[in-house]
Symmetry: C2
Subunit: 369 residues, 2 copies
């Protein structure tokens, strides 16, 4: 293996594949990045056996070859080099890579590339395409409601459903739920319903850019995402996702709207007091005004008022302020629309735009001390 590459291009590539490098040391080779040079193409690969990332770039190759290098060390060195041509050469006898750039010379010990696992194949799978910006938007809104509780694996991910000309994503930790649907340009033959891990959503959110499109392939074990020269392969979560349709109310009692940034500021401030306790706030929506109160606890009390437009009777509900803030953060409109059906039913935040539909539920807390 012998080639030259611009420092910035290599660092950019390493930053992409680093995201799937194993965080624990159980299998040391998985803390490395696999490099392969063939036909003037440099392929970088990483995997923690749940997630895999592959990235290709064109280089001027002198000698083909491959090696696995410790990810942190290799990335740190490339980061600190000047933005100049980096000359790379493999000493295959020692599995040692030599890096030269201006007056710098490094030799890094790596691993035998034959010991690096192959990324899984996605076979005979359903295939469709989404604009990157839309997919990123969906992930952003669904990611907030995934559960951290590993004893219910299905809830730590998001349901990913594709049917006819619609794609849906749903997540819930049973106390709140995100539902998002968008129209699909290309229709699929078979209905897809799989669960994507929360960590995969996080890395896709980091990697996806606002331009271009994502090609998505799904079989019964893996999902594959292709975009901007990057290939992401994720294991799916086995298990049954709860029947979310039962939870989403199909009618409401009162609807109201408020200025998003005003409501965001008010809830954030009320939560500064509420979170010293259980972070529960009381919303009271009345003619033209939403009052937000923390419980009167040992540390103090917060009261906020925000102007609203309301249709229907007055409403009062106790909810987790943190769950409310999460959705206020990811909405991108100027206004927020909220629906309520009394203090014992979920509060519903919803938005619709160009055929996209987003619903966010927060279950009420029975009473506030």
């Amino acid at each position: 293996m012998k080639f030259s590459i611009n420092q910035k291009d290599l660092y950019n590539a390493l930053n992409i594949v680093r995201r799937a490098v194993a965080k624990n040391q159980t299998l040391p080779i998985l803390t490395g990045i696999f490099l392969k040079l063939e036909n003037n193409k440099l392929t970088l690969k990483s995997t923690d056996l749940e997630l895999g990332i592959k990235y290709d770039l064109k280089v001027e190759a002198e000698i083909d070859g491959s090696i696995v290098l410790p990810a942190t060390q290799f990335s740190n060195i490339i980061r600190e080099l000047p933005n100049e041509e980096v000359k790379i050469e493999l000493n295959k006898d020692k599995w040692q890579l030599q890096i030269k750039c201006l007056n710098s010379l490094f030799k890094i010990n790596g691993y035998d590339p034959d010991e690096f696992p192959n990324l899984p194949q996605v076979e005979e799978s359903a295939k469709f395409t989404l604009p990157s910006s839309k997919f990123k938007e969906m992930i952003k809104k669904v990611r907030i409601s995934t559960s951290k509780d590993e004893t219910q694996p299905a809830l730590t991910g998001a349901l990913f459903e594709v049917e006819a000309e619609k794609v849906k994503m749903v997540s819930t930790n049973t106390y709140r739920l995100s539902y998002i649907e968008a129209p699909l340009q290309t229709s699929v033959n078979e209905k897809i319903a799989v669960i994507l891990p929360g960590s995969t959503l996080q890395e896709l959110n980091n990697l996806l850019e606002d331009e271009g499109s994502v090609e998505i392939e799904v079989d019964s074990n893996y999902a594959r995402f292709n975009f901007a020269g990057i290939e992401v392969i994720s294991r799916l979560i086995e298990g049954k996702f709860p029947n979310y349709e039962l939870v989403i109310p199909d009618e409401s009692n009162s609807k109201f709207s408020a200025d998003l940034s005003q409501l965001h500021g008010a809830v954030k401030r009320a939560s500064l007091i509420a979170k010293l306790d259980a972070n529960i706030i009381t919303l009271q929506a009345d003619d033209g005004l939403m009052e937000i109160n923390s419980a009167e606890g040992s540390s103090g009390y917060a009261h906020e008022e925000v102007k609203i437009d309301i249709e229907g009777p007055e409403q009062k509900i106790n909810i987790d302020a943190g769950y409310f803030i999460d959705v206020l953060k990811v909405l991108d409109s100027d206004e927020i629309n909220i629906e309520m059906i009394g203090p014992l039913n979920p509060l519903v935040v919803n938005s619709q735009k160009d055929g996209d539909k987003f619903i966010y539920l927060i279950m009420p807390v029975r009473s506030q001390s």
Copy 2:
């Protein structure tokens, strides 16, 4: 206590006094900020019994009074308020402060201000003045060499010496040493030699701005720093500071100079490999070239070259790369001047400007595996 104040002014004041708030909960009242309103002057105070900070600002007072409020909570609330007028009113019966701003209302429970300790007085003390920018510069350069080892308290701080028309600061962890001296406009009657705690240096570094001057008063137990309306009172470290003069070499064998940013980059990169081991690098200064090498360890090897001007015989020394990087970070010139006296004597970095003198020593490491 009843007054109005602009949100930004109050937040700025809280950010200053927060720095001396106690980090542990041993005495709960010390995790608070003391507020006192008298004669249209609002005084804010905090102390962890080692360090104390006091800050005054003018406000429109309606009713005088005082209270102690939990620092984090109070600061967080003020931070999240809009930049508008904040109306503050004390309920003295409950030691509860009411905060109003536009549509926000908060009540925070505080503490009886009579239980808050007074900041210590500095009595019949030596007094002198330094430009803030110079004092900050001195602190920045001396701070890096303080020790973290609490079993030798004197070394966790910096010696602060004022004599005739000179001010000196010295710190050492026995493996490296910072010495800085500057001329003093005003002379002091008596020689001052006290030890300032490392934490005090850190907070002064955070608080000092580049404009104005600092008035410094020192007695045998405390030092007081007055600048920009801020008063910082610090307990001194008891104990004897080592005789640093014995360590600073009064002659050198070879002198050389290099481009600071080139050398900084090279040492940083070599350290990426060296730090996987004991972070020791070998410097080899020869005719026109400084070579920097890591040991050839299990993870790899680094070699860097930097152009130098050298006067005297060639030199070779093993030093801790981290100690070298620390000084490369705080130097503010384009060039660096280094002196060496063989592999068994300290490497000396020095700079002189407008009567200021800075010396930084790094003790050599005997051998490198």
